[in-house]
């Protein structure tokens, strides 16, 4: 365990030594941002909308006390979405999609000697291949989380109003009630932390693949599992430290 952690730290260090030119890194980062960001919009949109809708319906089902105003449903959907569901669930979904893609991509490059080909050319393969992925994830994850917040709240609105759990006016009143802007900042900080963990752990697992196709699969699975565990631990640590 400690040996792996040590290797991970050394891997992180190697990302910033022998850096390629800023122009090359910028172009690579844009490419990676498109791969990570644009290609993940659909899955994030679907998951977020339904999570918002389900949250709204389930809160409505549990809220049987007539003395509690129906606008509380909107309030609770907003709080749950911003504080937990949007950053954490989105990150877990992205750990599955982006994490496995990063690990299997780098793993395949490693076993087919494409990484060696870069090294022979005098290119720092860690810096060229991995750093842009991490920077792109740091840039794109918060954007996806913001999108997720918006769609989740919108999903709650649609579900709540269609099922007559509450009126549109009640929902809007609820989501505007006792709003704390810091919660958004907290969610975005979490998304940046999760982005770093997912992209770096997946890259580490993929880059250190050796063997054949079976090992690429194992690396991909390990990347997703370890990323999800790291996200959940970091979620708790962030909540404890920042709230």
């Amino acid at each position: 365990m400690l040996k792996h952690f040590g290797k991970y730290i050394m891997f992180m260090g190697s990302l910033v030594t022998r850096s390629e030119s800023p122009r090359i890194l910028f172009n690579r980062t844009i490419d990676e941002a498109i791969l990570i960001g644009i290609n993940s919009i659909f899955i994030v949109a679907i998951v977020s909308t339904f999570i918002g809708a389900v949250t709204c319906v389930q809160i409505s089902y549990n809220l049987t006390n007539a003395f509690i105003p129906r606008s509380t449903i909107g309030f609770m959907v907003r709080e749950m979405t911003i504080l937990e569901l949007a950053p954490t669930i989105t990150s877990i979904v992205l750990a599955g999609k982006v994490g496995s893609s990063i690990a299997s991509g780098l793993g395949t490059m490693q076993i087919t000697e494409q990484v060696d080909a870069l090294e022979v050319m005098g290119i720092n393969s860690e810096n060229y291949l991995v750093l842009p992925k991490i920077i792109a994830a740091l840039l794109v994850f918060p954007m996806l989380v913001i999108l997720s917040m918006f769609l989740s709240i919108a999903g709650g609105f649609v579900a709540g109003t269609l099922t007559n759990a509450l009126t549109a006016q009640e929902y809007i009143t609820g989501i505007r009630d006792a709003f704390i802007p810091y919660n958004i900042v907290f969610a975005l900080i979490k998304s940046v932390v999760f982005a770093f963990l997912i992209s770096s752990i997946s890259s580490f697992r993929g880059y250190n693949t050796s063997g054949g196709a079976l090992e690429v699969g194992s690396a991909s699975t390990a990347a997703v599992t370890q990323s999800v565990i790291a996200v959940l631990i970091a979620d708790y640590v962030c909540a404890q430290l920042l709230l």
């Binding site: 087919t112 000697e113 494409q114």
Partner: protein, 265 residues
Amino acid sequence: MIEIHNIHKTFGDKKVLDGVSGIFETGKTNLLLGASGTGKSVLLKCIVGLIKPDIGSVTFDGTYFTNNKLDIRQEIRRKIGMLFQGSALFDSMTVQENVEFPLKMLTPDMSRSERLDRVNFCLTRVGLEGVNRKMPSELSGGMKKRVGIARAIAPNCTYLFCDEPNSGLDPLTAIKIDELIKEITVEYNITTIVVTHDMNSVIEIGDKIMFLYEGKKLWEGTRDDIMDSNVKELNDFIFANRLMRDAKKVEEEEREEHEEKRDTI
């Protein structure tokens, strides 16, 4: 000229290279010959710096490479072109982008049109025209090797390394690839090291041959001397290769005979 001195490498308990020394001359095709698992590819990777030897040194044209300062090692690496066993083409890039890649990375001052001219020149040189927009997955094994060679020579490499360039190719394509390597070596006066276990390559292109056995250099010489060697392991290797070739020939003849008979029926 590349000089290696007393290279040792151990993986766990297994000694893969045991004090290998030698000189690889410029303008010649130097072969690292030996059966599978004798440490040829590991030696090649030690020379290019992909694996660090436990003991020993590598010198490129008098410049010390192993354990030298990073910028000096980088400077030497930028003169290296390498053809990998599986070609190692970047599968997310087209053929043109693959060949252009080292130029983009190593010669940032080169304009795009100059780069494209060079790419077209290199692809023409290896006998591949009109495949610029194809992806590596659309190419045959032989074509991939050619693109690999084009990528290796694109930045005017001084040293060319080929790791089993014939593996997975039919005999005719293998000979063509061998000839191409030989021609490029002479034409650009570069130092070429080819890892192989194929005696055909020895006959076709081997100017200087180093025979490895269980991590040790057992014999060194030219292709004219190889048949006169008195090293038992080398003679066994040549004999086994000959048997394989004869067996293949017999098999081919039998197949042809069988096909002829079938046609007559």
